[in-house]
Structure formats: structure tokens, C-alpha cells
């Protein structure tokens, strides 16, 4: 079946899969958002334990999605893996650190004799909650703003001279951290951070039965939704007005084009519709519980979650489709990565496409398992009856 696909359609198919995984990852970062709200929403020890247990049943999905996103990106676009991870070293290392400390914190936080103490593990969760969305957002923004690197395949034949035989060389000053100095990048980082917090609040509304906490959740939703919307709109408008990195489809030559992303949006109406629909759903998911809390509080997470997935998905398509370099180099334009010049071979993409057919099954069993253990809202009483708590 996939053998009949052309090379470029396989590359596009895989860009869509990577984009979808990235989009699901951003949605699932509600776990990270929630970790930054534990002390804001939970005023007593019991309340905080409740929140941590709610998030603790979901953190592994976010974590696993990140790992799968990384693996899928590696398998389908290995030149990105090699250039970005090896180059923007410090950004990725800090993100990974934030996830390492998260992975033990839920399980160890409330255990007797846990060496570092409860507060340390809660701090780990806070660090992960801030660093992961902020830096992942900042790193993804460089898809639109560019980084400084060069790629030269001939380097692997270097046996003498003063250069190592390494293909990708990073020219940025701080091995990736320089991206955070660009306000355009930082805007997306802040957008993702506040989006994660908004989604967390909507998740809490969906899962918690506790009147006092709900009041705080409602209040916080407004406080976090405003900066989120401001940051998001600033980022999108700035991006649509910026120059972008166009690829000549016949020669592969990369050049700067004014209003490239705006052009992409206009030239790909389906993506434009997805983006508008996504944004509308996110806003609807936020506004409905703010206005009609009693009726609409539980569904917000689903609306805003689906909206997030559509929005992020369409942003990835804006960055990579319509003859655009998705990982541009401002140091050497011709080193920029496109979905055509950075992908795996046609054979590998074909083989991997068969594996991608498993995804619907994975989604199906995740759905069944979630339903089975999350069938009703949680309150203090239920938590006390659990045999395994964090």
C-alpha cells in the first residue's frame, strides 16, 4: 500500500505524523501546567495530595508522547535529530533534565524515608512544569525564526585539517540557549506555558468534586487565560507578518520571502480552516466555563484540548509545508532543513508507515483504559479508599 506513495508524499505523511504527535504532546502538557498550580489551587496538604494524584495518573502519557515524538522525529527526519539535538545542546539537555526529575517525583514524594524530602519532589514538579512548556515552546518557535548552524555532508570525509569530521556544526553562541534571547521565540514559550496552565485548570474542573477548590480554579482560569491569549495572538501576528524561509521546489534553493507564513496560510486553505477552528475551540473551551460554570465546566478540557491539537498541528504544517524550510539556518540559508532534504530514505519511510497503522489501536486502548479508571469525579473520600496513592 505505502509502496505506491511517492517519496514526497511519504515525507509529507511523516511530517503530519510528527506534527500530530507534537500537537498531542502540547495538549498533554496540561500535566506540566497543573504542576505549577499545586500550591495555588491546593491550600491544605490534603488538597495538594488530591491534585498530585489527579496529575499523577496522567503524567506518563505526556512523558511517553514526548519519547515517541522524539523517536518518530529521529526515524523520519534524522538530520533534524542530528542537527538540532547535537547543536542546541543546552536547550534539549535542560528539557530532558526537567523530565528526569519529574519521573520520580510522583512515586517518591509521599514515600517514607525518601531522602530528599517531600518539598524537594514538589519543587521538581514545579521545575518540570515551568521549564518543559517554556523551553519546548521556545525551541519550536525557532522553526519560524531560524537558528545558526551549518550542515555539510562532505565533512565526514575530513581526515586532516582542524575540523572534526562532523556534518552538523552549531554556530549559535550558547548551544541553543541563545534562542531564548529572541522575544519572538520567548512569546511562544510563554504561550505554551500559560496554555498548559489553562488546560490544567480545565482538567481539574473535569475531575474534581470539591467546592472550595473549584472557586480557586475558576478564578485562576481567568487570570491565566488572559496572558495566554495575549501571548498567543502576539506570536501568531508577529509570525504572519514576518519573512519566512521559502524553498524552490525544483532546485531546492532556500531564500527569504516576505510574509511567507501568511502566504502559506492563504495558499493552504485547509490549514487556515484548521487553525481558525482550533483557536475557536480553545477559546470556546475557556469562555463557556467562565460564563456558565454550572453547565459547562466538565467539557472545557475536551473542547480546548481538541482545539490545542488542531492549532499546534496547523502551526507545524505552516512551518513545513508549501515549500518551506521547517528548520531554517540564518547562518547559512542553504543549510536549512526541509522535509525533503532531512528525511529518511523512501524505504525506511515506507516501512515506518506500516508501523504507523498501529496508532489507531494504541489510541483505542488508551481510551478504553482511561474510561475504565476515570469513570467518575474524584473527591477526598475516594482518594482515601485507594490502595495506591502518590
Amino acid at each position: 500500500m505505502f509502496e505506491a506513495f511517492s517519496y514526497i508524499s511519504l515525507q509529507q505523511y511523516w511530517w503530519m505524523i510528527v506534527s500530530l504527535l507534537g500537537a498531542i504532546l502540547v495538549f498533554l502538557m496540561f500535566v506540566q501546567g497543573g504542576q505549577t498550580l499545586i500550591y495555588t489551587i491546593g491550600k491544605t496538604n490534603e488538597e495538594r495530595t488530591l491534585l498530585i494524584n489527579l496529575l499523577g495518573r496522567k503524567w506518563e502519557f505526556t512523558f511517553t508522547t514526548l519519547v515517541t515524538f522524539g523517536g518518530a522525529f529521529f526515524a523520519s527526519f534524522p538530520l533534524f535529530y542530528s542537527t538540532s539535538f547535537g547543536g542546541a545542546y543546552w536547550v534539549w539537555i535542560l528539557i530532558l533534565f526537567a523530565f528526569i526529575v519529574q519521573a520520580v517525583s510522583y512515586e517518591y514524594r509521599s514515600k517514607v524515608n525518601n531522602f530528599l524530602g517531600k518539598r524537594t519532589y514538589e519543587t521538581f514538579l514545579l521545575l518540570n512544569g515551568i521549564i518543559a512548556p517554556l523551553l519546548i515552546g521556545t525551541a519550536v518557535a525557532t522553526f519560524f525564526t531560524g537558528s545558526q548552524f551549518s550542515v555539510n555532508m562532505n565533512n565526514i570525509t575530513l581526515l586532516t585539517g582542524d575540523k572534526m569530521p562532523v556534518i552538523s556544526e552549531w554556530k549559535g553562541l550558547a548551544h541553543g540557549l541563545e534562542a531564548a534571547l529572541n522575544p519572538h521565540n520567548l512569546l511562544l514559550g510563554l504561550t505554551v506555558l500559560f496554555l498548559a496552565r489553562v488546560l490544567a485548570l480545565l482538567y481539574f474542573m473535569n475531575r474534581i468534586k470539591h467546592a472550595a477548590m473549584m472557586e480557586r480554579v475558576k478564578k485562576q482560569l481567568l487570570f491565566n487565560a488572559i496572558p495566554f491569549v495575549v501571548f498567543f495572538l502576539s506570536f501568531v501576528i508577529w509570525t504572519l507578518l514576518s519573512s519566512g524561509f521559502a524553498v524552490n521546489p525544483s532546485t531546492g534553493v532556500v531564500s527569504i520571502e516576505s510574509f511567507k507564513y501568511l502566504h502559506n496560510l492563504l495558499q493552504m486553505p485547509v490549514v487556515a480552516i484548521l487553525l481558525v477552528l482550533g483557536v475557536a475551540l480553545v477559546l470556546l473551551g475557556i469562555i463557556r466555563p467562565l460564563l456558565f460554570f454550572e453547565k459547562c465546566s466538565t467539557k472545557g478540557i475536551w473542547l480546548a484540548g481538541l482545539g490545542t491539537i488542531l492549532t499546534v498541528f496547523s502551526l507545524f504544517l505552516l512551518a513545513g509545508f508549501n515549500h518551506t524550510a521547517y528548520y531554517p539556518s540564518t547562518f547559512d540559508l542553504q543549510s536549512s532543513l526541509t522535509i525533503a532534504n532531512s528525511s529518511s530514505s523512501q524505504y525506511t519511510l515506507t516501512a515506518m508507515s506500516y508501523v504507523s497503522l498501529l496508532v489507531p489501536f494504541v489510541l483505542a486502548y488508551i481510551w478504553i483504559a482511561w474510561r475504565a479508571i476515570d469513570n467518575k469525579k474524584i473527591d477526598m473520600e475516594e482518594l482515601n479508599n485507594e490502595s495506591h496513592t502518590y
Partner: protein, 520 residues
């Protein structure tokens, strides 16, 4: 080569070794304990005896503590291929990326989805649904081991690929040859079964501690029976697959094999040094030759082990370094010249293509392909070829200690099983202490296995094709030093936390009363 930053290469290797070894402190227990728990819960569902439920839940608690830190130490490994070995990621990413992606899609989601049901589903789903979930966790974690070990085995014996000079990388041409690579399959089976042995020792050791403290008799004895049967069966499997590993090594990585055996001069009817001590001052001697201070040999055994033929010729370190025309072995010098020709031809090909000179490109490609098998040696042109010899004492001793411990584990399982079945285990305090103190030995044996496998193949990231010096990311050595120490401090801190939480949870014991579990 004046262009190589050796400090960068060494620190990058150190960081990978550090993170991989930490990760491997937790994974084997996950692999084995997940199955042991699944057996126990199956016994509970089959017999309806709530004591089995209590036992299952107790081991599940310990499983959770270990699992969390296994996840924490695992994420870094996947991304380190990109962050620290970026050239490698391009050079073989077309082949190596696929197993990592499949691991995520096929295994990690299975594991993480059903682990939630396993821990939080006791009162929410049916007995059968819960049991299936527990089994799926075991299958998921073992499937993830399959894919990552396929990837590792492939690095030791690259198959199913072809170098594409236009993209300057290796590309997959046969997925099934990658998956069913003999080294990968054997490595997978040997590694997971060693995990089963470790987990069995863990369960037996902890149970022995309870008996020594005169506590939890039912739980301890029942657990011991399950674990010793599982351990005994899987030990046999470890021996079988270990034997296969040695044969693969002799065939595909003769230098690793010679180093592991400290065989300096190749010979027919080669004896196996069962026990040996190397002379310490051998650094001075030519070509890293290490003499034995003393050794006990089994005649012909090495030839038999390597090629199933007592008369077979086994090449030694000297033959591999200096060549042996009689046995058709090229010297390192010759191989590095061929490798250099391949690298030059690749450069010529790419330049010719760019200039539109198709005939030169064709000639260069032919030269390149004729010499590609030695590509990686080219990076050592003009260097001391002895850099291509791995650390001999390290591999030699690691292998022997690992095998010796394996024998001890097998004997222990047998003794424990017999004594438990005869209901005499409570009184054999010496055996119980031995079982308890075997726990750390199992961890040492597991790490030593990786030391043999990975240090023994130095300097190859991809056997014969890509050495570490050409695989590394272009970073400042100080950056990697900083992250090395960051990981060192963080992982050590987490390890201390894990051990303290684990031992405390064992001291507390099963939290659920027998009465409670009947009620549930």
C-alpha cells in the same frame, strides 16, 4: 589526526556509559518482576486465594518504586544519540531511528497505559481486566527491550543496509535483516533472561530477609517458589544464549572475543582460560600484550566455544593487529589504508557529482564500494593502530566474574527450590543469608555483561564502519563535562533515594492485612 578533540570523545563516552549503566540498574528488575507479578496475580485469579492477591500487591509496590527511576534514567538515553552522537544520528539514523520510534509506538504506550490500570484499577475494573493489564505491562516492558536491543545488536553487526554516497549515510534496504539480525536476537534473549534471573534473585533475597526476621512466612515461601522456578528456567536460558553470544562475537567481532579471552597469538585447539590472573605491569609490553600470572585452562574449549569445533583456529590479538595471511586476516595497517581509500573516494565522488563529472563519479563510487567494509579504519590512517585494541583486563575479568556469578545463581535457585518444597528453608540461616547477599551480585553481573559487550567493541560505534571519534557531536568538551557531572549528581541522588525508599518499603512489608484483601 590533529583534528580530533579526544577529550570531547572521552567525556561523551563517559557520559553515555554513566547514563546507560545507571539505567541498567533498574531495567532488569522491571523486565523480570513484571512477569513474576503477572504469575502471582494469575495464581490469585485461578485459585481465588486472597493471600496471592496480597503477595501480588506487595511486589507491585516495589515494582512501582523501581519503575519510576527506570523511566527517569531511560529518557536521556534516547535523546543522547542526538545530543552527544549527532554524526552517528545522521550516519545510521535511517536504520537506527526506526526501532526507537517503534519502541515508543508499540511498547511504551502499552506499558504506561496499563500500568495505570495495574495500580489504580483494583477496585474499578474486573479481575480479568486487571490481570490482562498486568500481563500487558510485562509484555510492554519486554517489547521495549526487544526494540532497543535490536538497535544495539545491529550496531555490533550492521546488516540490511547500504551506504548512499549522495546522502552520505547508510540507508535501510531490508527491515527484516535488521530485525532478525542474529546478534540482535541473541542479545535480546540473553539480556531479557538475565533480567529474569536478577528479578528472581531480588524476590528470593527479599523473601529470605523476611524469614531471617521471622516475618511474613507465607508471603516469603510462596514468593520463593515462584521466583526459584522462574530463576532456574531462565538461568538455563541465560547459559544457552550466552553461548550463542560468544559464537556471534567470535564470528562478527573477533577482536572483542580475543580481548575477552586475552588470546594474544591465535591458535588451533585453543584452550579456554577458566580462571586466570593477568600480570599488572603489562602496559610496557609491546601491543598491549598481557601475560598470565597464573591460569587454569580447559584444552580445546575456546575453539569449541567459538566455532563448535575443537580443532578450529581462533585468531589472537596479534593476528588481528598485524594480520595473518595464512588465515586471510588483514592487518589494521592494511585496513586503515583501505578505509582511507574509501573515505577519499567518497569525497571524490561527491565533488565529481557536484561538478557534473559522471564518469569520475562512477569510478569513485566503485572504488568506494570496494573498500567500504573498512570505512571506519580510515579515520585511524597515520595513527597508532593499537588504539583499536579494547581494554583487555577489563573485558577479560568482567566476563569471568559474570560467568562465575551465573553459576552461583543457578545453584542458589536449585537449593532454594528444593528446601522450600521440603519446607526446610526457615532453618537454613546460612542459605538465607547467602540469598540476601546475592542481590548485589546480580546487579554486578548484569553491569559486567554490558561492560564486556560495550567496552569490548571499542572504538566502534558501528562495527568496522564508524568509530567514536567520527560519531560524536561537535561540542565543547567542557559542556559535556558539565552535563556528565550534572547527571552523575542527579542520578546518584535519585539512586540513594530509590534504595532508601525500597528498603523502607520492604521493612514496612505488605501494608494490606489478610482480612482487607479478603474484603476486596
Amino acid at each position: 589526526m590533529e583534528n580530533i578533540d579526544f577529550s570531547l570523545v572521552d567525556w561523551s563516552r563517559a557520559q553515555f556509559a554513566l547514563t546507560a549503566m545507571y539505567h541498567w540498574l533498574f531495567v532488569p528488575l522491571t523486565l523480570g518482576l513484571s512477569f513474576i507479578i503477572a504469575f502471582m496475580e494469575t495464581l490469585y485469579v485461578k485459585t481465588g486465594n486472597s493471600e496471592w492477591k496480597r503477595i501480588t500487591k506487595f511486589w507491585m509496590t516495589l515494582f512501582g518504586i523501581n519503575f519510576a527511576i527506570g523511566v527517569a534514567t531511560g529518557i536521556i538515553l534516547e535523546f543522547e544519540f542526538g545530543t552527544n552522537w549527532s554524526n552517528y544520528s545522521w550516519f545510521v539514523g535511517d536504520i537506527f531511528g526506526a526501532p526507537l520510534a517503534i519502541e515508543g509506538i508499540m511498547a511504551f504506550f502499552l506499558e504506561s497505559t496499563f500500568i495505570a490500570v495495574m495500580f489504580f484499577g483494583w477496585n474499578k475494573v474486573s479481575k480479568k481486566f486487571h490481570l490482562v493489564s498486568t500481563w500487558l505491562v510485562a509484555i510492554g516492558s519486554n517489547l521495549s527491550a526487544l526494540w532497543i536491543l535490536v538497535a544495539n545488536g545491529w550496531m555490533q553487526n550492521p546488516t540490511g543496509m547500504r551506504f548512499n554516497p549522495d546522502t552520505a549515510r547508510n540507508e535501510m534496504v531490508n527491515f527484516w535483516q535488521v530485525l532478525f539480525n542474529p546478534v540482535s536476537i541473541n542479545k535480546f534473549l540473553h539480556t531479557i533472561s538475565s533480567g529474569y534471573v536478577l528479578a528472581s534473585i531480588f524476590v528470593i533475597g527479599v523473601s529470605a530477609w523476611y524469614l531471617l526476621k521471622n516475618r511474613e512466612h507465607q508471603l516469603a515461601k510462596k514468593s520463593m517458589i515462584v521466583a526459584s522456578v522462574f530463576g532456574l528456567l531462565t538461568t538455563a536460558f541465560v547459559v544457552l544464549t550466552g553461548d550463542g553470544s560468544a559464537r556471534n562475537m567470535a564470528k562478527y567481532q573477533p577482536m572483542k572475543f580475543a580481548a575477552m579471552e586475552n588470546l594474544y597469538v591465535g591458535q588451533q585447539n585453543a584452550p579456554l582460560v577458566a580462571i586466570g590472573i593477568l600480570k599488572e605491569d603489562s602496559k610496557e609490553t609491546l601491543h598491549k600484550k598481557q601475560d598470565f600470572r597464573f591460569q587454569i585452562e580447559i584444552p580445546n574449549m575456546l575453539s569449541y566455544m567459538a566455532f563448535l569445533d575443537p580443532n578450529a583456529y581462533v585468531p589472537g590479538i596479534k593476528d588481528i593487529v598485524h594480520g595473518n595471511p595464512e588465515h586471510n586476516i588483514l592487518s589494521f595497517q592494511q585496513r586503515s589504508e583501505k578505509g582511507k581509500i574509501a573515505i577519499r573516494a567518497l569525497s571524490d565522488y561527491r565533488n565529481a557529482k557536484k561538478a557534473g563529472n559522471d564518469s569520475l563519479a562512477k569510478v569513485s563510487q566503485a572504488t568506494f564500494e570496494a573498500n567500504y567494509a573498512n570505512f571506519g579504519y580510515g579515520y585511524y590512517a597515520g595513527r597508532d593502530v593499537h588504539e583499536l585494541i579494547p581494554n583487555i583486563p577489563m573485558t577479560f575479568y568482567s566476563f569471568r566474574i559474570m560467568v562465575g556469578m551465573g553459576v552461583h545463581f543457578g545453584a542458589l535457585f536449585l537449593v532454594i527450590l528444593l528446601l522450600t518444597l521440603k519446607n526446610k528453608i526457615d532453618k537454613k540461616r546460612f542459605i538465607l543469608y547467602t540469598a540476601l547477599w546475592t542481590i548485589p551480585l546480580a546487579y554486578i553481573a548484569a553491569e559486567l555483561g554490558w561492560i564486556v559487550a560495550e567496552m569490548g567493541r571499542q572504538p566502534w560505534v558501528i562495527q568496522d564502519i564508524l568509530p567514536t571519534i567520527a560519531a560524536v557531536s561537535q561540542l565543547k568538551s567542557t559542556s559535556v563535562q558539565i552535563t556528565f557531572w550534572m547527571f552523575f549528581i542527579l542520578f546518584t541522588g535519585l539512586l540513594i533515594a530509590e534504595i532508601r525508599i525500597m528498603t523502607t518499603s520492604i521493612k514496612i512489608g505488605p501494608t494490606e492485612d489478610l482480612k482487607d484483601s479478603v474484603k476486596n
